[in-house]
């Protein structure tokens, strides 16, 4: 692949700018901008349900040399607007003759601490890339999203040090027209604490977090409601 110039950050999270997907993807794209690439952002949820939005999405994809698809994992795969965007892009590219080499990179984040839970979602994006004539640039699996708290990533913060180091390394690979290296993917996909500790903390603090949110909404006494219980 020749020297890439344009990068598209395609966000699959319905939470938009305030999502972990955006924070992680933006960190990578900012690093690419430092290397003189020009970036553009697109949000799948806002584009896939209208003709104008679809046209804008496809034009942005056509223009990009690198597409960074940053999305959360929903129900073991991808949110429906992300899948819809992939269906539309695939349909569009099926009918065209590729005039340039374009690379697709995936970043998937999940609330669960185990990155292995993301493997199938990542494989689906890889299949999409193959079916749609993109060069596969590799995927990063970010577990334990609760630790990121939808805040901009900070290279100096212990919690995000490995993730940011991996993304920085990936930006070097991608800016030179190469797929992300194994080292970059592994580093970015590694938690800052042991998986055992992350799992224990998820059960403890994650569950407390749900109760806190419910209390803030005056819903704490209804947490176990079964509104659709048969025979009610």
């Amino acid at each position: 692949m020749s020297q890439p110039r344009n990068v598209l950050l395609l966000i699959g999270s319905p939470r938009g700018e305030g999502s972990n997907s955006h924070m992680i993807g933006k960190f990578l794209v900012d690093k690419l901008e430092e290397k003189s690439l020009v970036s553009e952002e697109a949000f799948a949820t806002r584009l896939v349900n209208t003709r104008e939005g679809t046209e804008r999405l496809l034009k942005s994809v056509d223009n990009a040399d690198i597409i960074v698809l940053a999305t959360p994992m929903y129900v073991d795969s991808l949110p429906s607007p992300t899948i819809k965007a992939m269906e539309l892009i695939h349909e569009h590219r099926k009918a065209m003759f590729p005039t340039k080499s374009q690379m697709l990179v995936a970043i998937i984040n999940s609330g669960f601490p185990e990155k292995e839970q993301i493997d199938i979602a990542l494989k689906i994006i890889q299949n999409f890339a193959q079916d749609s004539n993109f060069k596969w640039g590799g995927g990063i699996r970010v577990g334990w999203g609760m630790a990121l708290n939808s805040e901009p990533l900070n290279e100096k913060k212990g919690m995000t040090r490995k993730l940011t180091a991996g993304l920085s390394l990936a930006s070097v690979n991608l800016s030179e027209g190469h797929p992300m290296s194994e080292e970059a993917k592994d580093l970015a996909s590694t938690l800052f604490i042991s998986p055992f500790l992350a799992k224990s903390m998820t059960r403890l603090f994650g569950n407390r977090g749900w109760n806190k949110q419910a209390k803030d909404n005056n819903a704490q006494t209804n947490m176990y409601d079964r509104p659709y219980e048969p025979n009610q």
């Binding site: 073991d76 269906e87 185990e114 994650g206």
Partner: protein, 190 residues
Amino acid sequence: MKTVIFDGAKEGDLTIKAIEKSITDQLTEKGWEVEPLELRNMQIAACLGCFGCWVKTPGTCVINDDGRETTRKAIQSDLMVWLTPVTFGGYSSELKKALDRIIPILLPYFQSYHGQIHHKMRYKKYPKLLVIGVQEPGVDYEETFMALAERNMLNFRPPAYAVSVFQRAKDPKKIPVFVEEQLKKLEVIS
């Protein structure tokens, strides 16, 4: 006994329509009540990812559209069927928009299950689950599709489940036998 079918096909998908009809015919003959839902014709907005269904209105999605009905019908059925074209190894966006919205059938709370963190169950009883993907010729994503469905079973924990892929290139006359095999695996017909 009730069955709800989540039809995740695009308009004009004759193979999925034939599978849906065969399921309906075979179960109706055994006295089941079957309700196919053409998801593409329903008003189901995309999940907002807001977790309101867990911490604001526990058990009910905050979006008031057909997504609430699909969730209610799912939990009140004895058998839930998901039909979809195999889409890059996963589910179509039409099926997925309904599945993203049924997470209030689970609790938000985390627990260890099969060595990994998953959500706890909200209800005492869940339907059996049949997942059928229709695979286009020229690609082979069956392995990814089966693996995805297996992962879903860890989260939805149905009392019994069956997952299978039907090749679109196959003779449509084979559909009734294929469907019969799946329903027998679930012991909903003998």
